[in-house]
Symmetry: C2
Subunit: 178 residues, 2 copies
């Protein structure tokens, strides 16, 4: 499934496989910045499968408010269909991992979700805007949508805010109220 | 880096990010077929970073005998350059993981390498030939190049051989000596 974020130094958008691999490498490199210890194995598994449901449900863009209305419903139906392809024990295991990711119910899931928010931010910053240039999106929206990073790592959240501020300063995302 | 294997049901070749993500999911699903217990976390890390050196060294096709001559040298130089971008402790950690993968010195590395060989085989079989149709390649070559799977899992090796036989039977790869 093609995502919206353009790749750095490539004239095309990333796909879910590339995105998920990128998150997994980020987990390997950045796990030490988690607030408190996390289980790296489970965090890797969470990011590796977090977008699998998009095979059936499609990609819902972070700033798409219409698509967001039935996103949960579409993705749950996709999950039911997809994980049922596995043997019963693995179906239950994969489903539980995906539910954990979606609910952000553990430190691992919160860190996985933080990677999922931080990675497009890195792409957008390094592309001098990227999807930040979507009409109507302001720095306040970006900060709001990215704030889940705070629940996983104070240090990475400070870094993310610094990039958003710098992006606004350089005109890659308009400041709200201007 | 674009690899040779075409994707299933897609009119283009896979790239290293897609390939590595695919291997990681295969580790999650197939680890139970390893001969003996393996550490899933390290196996995931091994497959996630095993092709990173191709950023600088390029992709060397499995059946390219000329490229194979200086492949190790090119990839070692790429590894030196690439992993040095990380802080010292992570540089050493990533380098050790990559060396472990290359040397197949542990059950985890042997399983990771088995996934690296099995995945293109699945692509080729499901593409009714794929890179098996490279001029000069026969079923004996394929069996020879894929035999490292045997060092990780008897069950997966039996499955791989079954696919190669079926591929030869269906004319997707020529039988040697014909």
């Amino acid at each position: 499934m093609l995502r919206r974020s353009p790749l750095i130094a490539a004239n095309r958008r990333e796909n879910d496989a590339e995105h998920s691999w990128h998150l997994a490498l980020m987990v390997m490199v950045l796990a030490e910045y988690a607030d408190g210890q996390i289980d790296v194995e489970r965090t890797l598994q969470l990011v590796l499968l977090h977008d699998l449901v998009e095979i059936y449900a499609g990609d819902t863009f972070l700033y798409d408010e219409v698509g967001a209305r039935d996103q949960a419903e579409r993705e749950q139906a996709a999950g039911d269909r997809l994980f049922a392809l596995l043997p019963d024990d693995q179906c239950a295991e994969f489903r539980a991992l995906w539910d954990e990711f979606e609910a952000r119910s553990t430190p691992e899931a919160r860190f996985a979700k933080a990677m999922d928010r931080l990675q497009p931010l890195l792409l957008n910053f390094n592309n001098r805007g990227g999807t930040w240039r979507t009409p109507g999106v302001t720095d306040t929206d970006v900060r709001h949508r990215k704030s889940v990073i705070k629940d996983a790592s104070e240090e990475l959240w400070n870094y993310a805010q610094m990039l958003i501020d710098l992006g606004a300063e350089r005109g890659w995302v308009p400041r709200s109220g201007r």
